[in-house]
Symmetry: D2
Subunit: 110 residues, 4 copies
């Protein structure tokens, strides 16, 4: 994640003195709430209809999920790209290509 973008998000929060609210538990709650608001765009609709009717709303909610992800990573001193690479390395071991090809099964059921 672009460092300048991360700094812009942190500055936005500082300017408004919102850091006091950003404890990890409430950030995790907020992340979950935004993910739900994103999903709400797909309620009662097919995937295609949702995408064609609610594209901008979906972009906005995905942005909110990413913004809270940056705040949570900052609160816990995580480097976003490091934690992704680390998880993907373990995913590669849990889901070897030969066993998981074409199958979306949880690793403990492969």
């Amino acid at each position: 994640m672009n460092e300048e973008l991360i700094q812009m998000l942190l500055a936005f929060r500082e300017e408004r003195n919102w850091g006091q609210f950003h404890n990890p538990k409430d950030l995790a709650i907020s992340l979950s709430l935004e993910a739900s608001e994103l999903l709400e765009n797909f309620q009662w609709k097919s995937s295609e209809d949702a995408v064609s009717q609610k594209r901008q709303d979906i972009a906005d909610e995905l942005a909110d999920v990413l913004i809270y992800s940056v705040y949570l990573a900052d609160a816990l001193d995580f480097n976003i790209e490091d934690i992704i690479r680390d998880k993907m390395q373990r995913n590669g071991a849990k889901y070897p290509v030969d066993k998981s090809f074409g199958k979306m099964t949880k690793y403990n059921e492969l």
Copy 2:
């Protein structure tokens, strides 16, 4: 978000022929499920206790949220940094510093 990292995530999916499952609605569901798994680390605990006891689990679930965000952005042809900047610009207008300083109130209640 680093382009090479995004390509690595897309390649991981291609190798396993998982693209067939990645329609936007199911990706939005998955994003919501991962956000809940992240929040689960804070269940029944104070923020501090959760962070000290479950740091690695929190990193893993945050990584999962970010990974699904990359897949969803890809499915909808969004540039992650563009949608964040775009949302932050509107957030700046909705939450002017003078009105929202020190207050975590929804913009329509400011």
Copy 3:
């Protein structure tokens, strides 16, 4: 909701001295987590496949949602049937039959 069943749920918690954990905020978090576990049964699947493959799991997670609903209602001194009737009365006004027939549109978009 059957009063004897509610008492049984409260007794289960008392016997284990779990009341100390059941503050409304953590109960609300728990309710959300269980709703996600219920939804997880539908991840990557059509509605029909999920129901035929995961019927018992869905029943279990729905039970968990209902159990936490009872604990939350108890914590806030709500009568479950009263709050439902009260909400349905207002739903009837927000969604008059003539305007909402066959349409799953949010009331402010009718």
Copy 4:
């Protein structure tokens, strides 16, 4: 759950020809969305502040969670009280009083 209340909820849906939307997957999504709306009342606040400031909103969202629970149970032909009793019986075995007294630990970590 009072049978007359369940019938009133089903009739409300029939009158508006909404049954066509109520497939189990979308009902599970809706249940999750309502649980998030309930949790939103606790965002950034202590449990006590949320309860004193947002009591009616919490009641409304809990009612929505329960209403969707009734619709989902109906769609899957579950008896609400039976699935609760069944789950509680297994919970009793998973969380024996002597092992779980005063501890909110997952059963596989007891």
